[in-house]
Symmetry: C2
Subunit: 390 residues, 2 copies
């Protein structure tokens, strides 16, 4: 396999870090109880408010997105509290497991690759006094973007707090937290915001804040918010990750959020067009396809996982993700979030086509890469499409 | 204040990072589900076993030392379980609070700056069937090194699991975990091992492993150990911190653990001698003084905190820590752990003496720095004393 420095990353996270972010990671040691750290934290939280579209509190946890999910759920629900937990993929399942661990979870499921039946969601909400609804906005495992606004509005209409995992959405697609009325939104650092892994970002509404309780010493969301308000952290923060995340968000804001969302949408459209042109089938249903990750069924060729994804990595230095859990070996996933560029996508499809030919899949060579060229040159303003508008 | 790149850090953590560790932080993005990450994790855990003096399991959490404390306590005790929680400082108090949150804590306290009365510890252990004893080995807030071996042995003698926070000890003083019979030992990355903040390292005995239960989704210690055994992590790890910690531990092992312990002991002796030579009083009782952090009472001068510690930072670029909680404004603390060098200590006492003169404290100028010279030149092998033996 080529050296990690040379590979093309098109994973649904972690994503490749910008050299400016790498430099921020290796700034000299900064004590966390210092005016310098307080200033950095202020820049970080201000930037986060902008990408979350919120005027409410935001906070940062040293831990993964899952730590953020548990901090949110555990701080808001306890045994005896009814929680409607939506699940249609690996991460929805995780959110439901966490909801079941801390509260009384009523699961609403949909088949993997499909969105939710909103009527079923409503019936579940009506089934009893519901303290909270939990769901995953962008289901990374299946390439499904769930119906965020509709689900959040339904939950609020029925008096439930809305806890939303938007780990692979915020930063690459619009997620207007306040407009949707989301009470807690959770994001991981290493996805659409292109920061290193290891931090969780959360927004918390006033209503949610007033109902927080302490279930954990470390994952106590109220303590994190109170300390963030005071320009500090309750426990030793992972300082280098904070500095790198601050720089990553600065880069996103320099590009401009609207330009970023537009670029991501076009990357997604192009990926879907190119895969279809190769005679491959998209895994997610048409009405809920994600703009940050595309899941594609393997064609019917021998040992597809190894012949396609394995060989893309080993022979071409292109990293895409496999399927997880129930779709392991059946799909592969291309991430086109954060700072991914059309040229990287072109390299990815170049490698994919080579592997498909070798594997014996029948298609017109160049059909995928050609579809990409057409998708990106269709634009009246080609500069935007190439992601160089900033 | 001088730029952070130029300052002398003599805090009881975070400590200054070696340039090699800074370079490891900014290695290119590495996906965590990759053979490369598995290899790095293997190097890290092997190194940790060596510094912990253990043949048992070790694991790594993306979170602070407090996350590690809660993972240990919460995974081993639940409501109804009697826990003897020793507290003689801020971190012992935190450990006792965590013990009280998850189990039924019986606190044994000692005055800040003093060690524990072992007779009292034994009476507490005899007071009922005790599931676990929790304590902090090196109390960073007071500069007290508690009686680790004796406390651990007492607990085991009474059938209690031993959960020890050794956050500011492992890596700079000998902490033979297996020899002492410690069931769970918790260490923070940013202290004596000189890695960046944001990771907790834990060792877990077979006995403790067999008794772990799930109290949290993220802080589930069993899940972390099982995944570590398989060369992976249960959740997205903070990859850059893992790579940096691996390099930091490599540096410690290159120096040699015995040489490192000897250097630390001499740094501590020298600090105590120099402070005493300036007519300052050490805060910790003589029989329990820590080798990694020295707490010193401020002399009776006006506005001591600002005139001494504040001015050491602002005018001299030397960072030492203040007192916390009940000793805030009454003591300051010099950290001499990890890679701190005698020459940095000399700079620190140079600044301290200048500030003491200006504040009106009466002493012979040069008495402190002179004591340091004497302490370090007394050695038959001066190379070891200067920390250059590696």
């Amino acid at each position: 396999m080529p050296d990690l420095e040379d590979v093309t990353f098109l994973l649904p996270g972690p994503v490749k870090l910008h050299p400016r972010v790498l430099r921020a990671l290796s700034l000299p040691s900064m004590p966390h109880r210092s005016p310098e750290f307080t200033a950095a934290l202020g820049h970080l939280t201000e930037g986060l408010k902008e990408v979350f579209g919120t005027f409410q509190d935001v906070t940062v946890l040293s831990g993964s997105g899952t730590a953020g999910m548990e901090a949110a759920v555990g701080s808001l629900v306890k045994k005896g509290d009814r929680v409607v937990a939506l699940s249609n993929g690996k991460f929805g399942e995780r959110m439901a497991d966490i909801s079941a661990l801390h509260g009384d979870a009523v699961r609403v499921t949909a088949p993997w690759g499909q969105g939710f039946d909103l009527g079923e969601v409503e019936r579940a909400l009506k089934g009893g006094e519901t303290k909270a609804l939990t769901f995953v906005l962008n289901e990374t495992s299946t390439g499904v973007m769930n119906q965020g606004k509709e689900i959040a509005w339904l939950a609020r209409e029925h008096g439930a707090l809305v806890i939303m995992d938007a780990v692979t959405a915020v930063g690459s697609v619009p997620v207007p937290v306040d407009e949707w009325g989301v009470d807690v939104c959770i994001v991981g650092s290493q996805k659409c915001l292109a920061a290193p892994p290891g931090l969780a970002f959360l927004s918390v509404s006033e209503e949610a804040y007033s109902r927080l309780h302490r279930f954990s010493y470390y994952l106590d969301l109220k303590k994190h918010i109170d300390k963030t308000r005071a320009g500090s952290t309750p426990f030793t923060p992972a300082v280098p990750l904070y500095l790198a995340a601050t720089e990553a968000i600065r880069i996103a804001l320099e590009e401009g959020l609207d330009a970023r969302y537009e670029r991501t949408r076009r990357m997604a459209d192009a990926t879907r067009a190119a895969a279809t042109a190769l005679g491959l089938e998209l895994y997610a249903a048409e009405d809920v396809r994600s703009d940050t990750v595309t899941a594609i069924r393997y064609p019917d060729v021998p040992d597809a996982e190894k012949a396609i994804r394995g060989r893309m990595k080993d022979a071409h230095g292109v990293l895409v993700a496999g399927g997880q859990d129930e779709v392991k070996g059946r799909i592969f996933r291309i991430g086109h979030m954060a700072n991914a560029r059309p040229e990287e996508l072109a390299g990815c499809f170049h490698a994919l086509e080579s592997c498909l030919i070798e594997a014996g899949h029948d298609f017109v060579p160049g059909a995928g890469t050609g579809a990409l060229v057409r998708a990106f040159s269709r634009a009246p303003d080609a500069a935007v499409a190439s992601g160089r508008s900033a």
